[in-house]
């Protein structure tokens, strides 16, 4: 049963995953946390950090991770292949239709139209992870370090295009020193 669910979830994400790794992240988040309850938001955040810091496509990393935690070794292989399956079909059949100027402009315009919605999708994923599980609560014995780290990382990433791996390592060091 879990294998069928993994297959369905990641094939779906492979089909609808327009706009790169973060767009897929928001799809994975909904399925894994809200829909199936395979992970808590904390586990999900940890997985994103690990997937971000390791080489290779972040979406394949996450598929492998989700597959492994829910269905062991077989689950990890299944989830990764399921994510690639629509691409295989697409490259085999659609490449002949779309890998030309006309198809290219059509797909390009489609993505252009999709981008604002995808941005909203990703933003919503970030928002729903902004909770008491991932942020050490203010006034509960600790301090506002979580919020400060989040704001600083955001500024560094958005305005200065800082390397995400560097930011993760730096905030890990801050966590080690503060908590």
């Amino acid at each position: 049963m879990i294998y069928l669910q993994l297959l369905w979830v990641f094939v779906k994400i492979g089909v609808l995953g327009f706009g790169g790794g973060y767009a897929m992240l928001s799809l994975i988040e909904h399925e894994v946390i809200d829909h199936y309850g395979w992970m808590t938001t904390t586990e999900f955040a940890d997985m994103v950090a690990i997937s971000q810091m390791t080489p290779g496509p972040i979406s394949i990393n996450m598929a492998t991770y989700v597959g492994y935690t829910t269905g062991g070794f077989a689950g990890s292989l299944l989830a990764s292949f399921a994510l690639c399956l629509p691409s295989i079909v697409m490259v085999y059949f659609i490449i002949r239709l779309f890998l030309n100027k006309k198809g290219g402009t059509l797909m390009g315009n489609l993505l252009k139209g999709l981008k604002p919605a995808i941005a909203g999708l990703i933003f919503a994923a970030g928002l729903s992870m902004m909770n008491a599980q991932n942020f050490v609560q203010i006034g509960k014995g600790e301090n506002n370090v979580s919020i400060i780290v989040c704001v600083l990382a955001f500024v560094a990433s958005y305005f200065f295009k800082a390397n995400p791996i560097l930011l993760i390592v730096a905030s890990g060091v801050i966590g080690y020193l503060v908590y």
Partner: protein, 189 residues
């Protein structure tokens, strides 16, 4: 067969050593496929990449499939794809196993307590960057806002939101195409 092995190893190297997602990988693919092996001419490669970027799915996998297919048919496509994803699978399996053992250690918990808010920032920042690059105006701002309200507020599945957006965008794309054709015709006349 030899070509398939070469494809497998080329993409495995790329998968194993590129940090920072699909786009960081591009220059490595270009170096290997266009400059070194001369499998695909440069202009054709970049034309195709522009199209592949607009396709759904994992960008690195789509690129591997395209290059592999181009060079050695179905066999080449599968070989390149397996090469591209194998390092990810191996490394994540290793890390996930280790993490499962040690995540309850106080040191690990402290480090990840620091990391989690950073992860949130690393998800929010690209979404706003995408809004900027999509040239969202005050009028079209309703789209991302509606998406956030539906998903975050009403817990609507993002898959449904994407499907709705695809329907809307297809209409938009077809209209654009028609408009361009009309403009082209008027240009000729």
């Amino acid at each position: 067969m030899k070509k398939s092995f070469q494809l497998f190893f080329t993409f495995m190297k790329i998968g194993a050593f590129t940090l920072g997602g699909g786009y960081a990988m591009l220059s490595m693919v270009e170096k290997a496929v266009v400059d070194k092996k001369r499998w695909i001419p440069s202009d054709e490669f970049w034309d195709m990449i522009a199209i592949i970027q607009s396709l759904p799915g994992v960008f690195a996998v789509n690129t591997a499939l395209y290059v592999g297919h181009k060079i050695n048919g179905a066999k080449g496509a599968v070989a390149a794809m397996l090469g591209a994803i194998l390092p990810s699978i191996v490394i994540i399996l290793l890390l996930a196993t280790i993490f499962k053992e040690y995540r309850d250690l106080p040191v690990v918990e402290r480090v990840f307590k620091g990391i989690r808010p950073c992860v949130v920032a690393l998800i929010l920042a690209p979404s706003l960057r995408m809004i900027k690059s999509a040239k969202v105006t005050w009028k079209t701002a309703v789209i991302p806002i509606a998406a956030v309200v539906l998903i975050y507020g009403c817990k609507v599945s993002p898959a449904l939101v994407i499907l709705a957006a695809i329907a809307g965008s297809l209409v938009y794309a077809l209209l654009m195409e028609r408009k361009m054709k009309q403009a082209g015709k008027e240009g000729e006349a």
